[in-house]
Amino acid sequence: MIAGLSDPTEGSVSIFGLKTRDALARIGYMAHAPLLYDEFSAMENLRFFGRLYGVTSDAPLQQAIKRVGLDPHLERRVGQYSQGMRQRLSLARAIFHSPQVLLLDEPFSNVDLDSAAQITRLLTEMRSSGATILLVTHQLGVLANSADEFLLLSSGALVERGAMPQASR
């Protein structure tokens, strides 16, 4: 709903005082699926999505790829990437336009511990520079020292809210 993929059945969603559709340029979204073309390389993918956000220069795209620990000059097509590399490139796709709100769905799945730590550092940097990050994960431990607030959901209900949930310590 916050990303604008579905409409609320009741009430409304407002971001920066705007309707979701008007605030899309300020939102970054990383889904469970990579949202990338298998037939394109990393840069070709980001060049296309960059245009949708009005980003026509390669520099911010290359920087986003470097920030997630990938090589922007890699010619290999995304279809030949490992699951972890796809996951990281998917994150690069979500952050290249420096969004103020970042929505992440399981960013650590299929990612090794080093990569998870690298992603966490990147997210912490973004948070420090003023971005709001809403992240869904089953791996709470990865975020133990970086998240401001945890909301623990069980069977669709909120069971705990605050610092690191008691249940996962």
Binding site: A3, L5, S6, L36, E39, Y53
Partner: protein
């Protein structure tokens, strides 16, 4: 700097053509199907040159109609793989650019198919147009756009259904019948040279304008429908 609808449409066309160049999913299946129709009908009927001119309109458009249907399904299926369509939906880009980009990409691919198949039709059916060739070109441009614009719209509508391969022809064929009738009629008139295809061309022009406008207006709703 936000890009204009035209710039984004061009970006979509380039993306679609590049994806097709790398995978050749759409062109191969269209070409194979059209080739089968040409060869099988040719061996089944063995028509004379005169009979060919009368039959060819129906035959050509049947081959292109079904080939186009196959292509349209695949062009949208590509957007569903890895959830890429959602990346477009969460981007601040107008839906119309995606629609027109897809339409133009599919239009160019179907035109390419028609150019590749034309010599085979001439060869297998011994076709010679009695009427002026430029009229044939106008009929093919309008007819192809009529098929592609409706097809792209209905393919987007049926893409999330479980039986999309079945759903697209069910939606597209009934609505295309008036246009197909006039495409066949105009093509036959030009090939035989017996009468003028101007009334058919006028109908096809109106059909293209109406359906392009309606699809354009409704596409965003279809794209964001759950």
């Amino acid at each position: 700097m936000k890009l204009s609808v035209i710039q984004l449409t061009v970006a979509n066309v380039r993306k679609d053509l590049r994806l097709e160049w790398r995978s050749r999913d759409v062109l191969n299946s269209m070409l194979f199907f059209a080739l089968l129709v040409v060869v099988i009908f040719s061996f089944t009927f063995e028509p004379t040159a005169e009979e060919s001119r009368r039959l060819a309109g129906g035959l050509i458009w049947t081959a292109f109609l079904f080939s186009t249907t196959m292509a349209l399904n695949q062009s949208w299926a590509r957007e569903l793989r890895n959830g890429v369509l959602d990346a477009y939906r969460v981007a601040p880009a107008p839906a119309e650019a995606l629609f027109f980009g897809k339409c133009l990409g599919n239009f160019l691919l179907v035109l390419l198919l028609e150019c590749l198949m034309a010599p085979l039709f001439v060869l297998f059916y011994n076709l010679r147009s009695v009427g002026p060739y430029w009229q044939l070109i106008v009929v093919f441009l309008l007819g192809t756009w009529a098929l592609v614009v409706n097809g792209t719209f209905f393919a987007a509508m049926s893409i999330r259904t479980r039986n999309r391969e079945l759903m697209l022809p069910l939606l597209l064929l009934p609505i295309s019948i008036p246009a197909v009738n006039h495409m066949v009629s105009a093509t036959t008139k030009v090939l035989t040279g017996e009468s003028s295809p101007v009334s058919d061309i006028k109908f096809l022009t109106a059909y293209c304008v109406i359906y392009t406008t309606v699809s354009f207006l409704l596409f965003e709703t279809v794209l964001n429908a759950e």
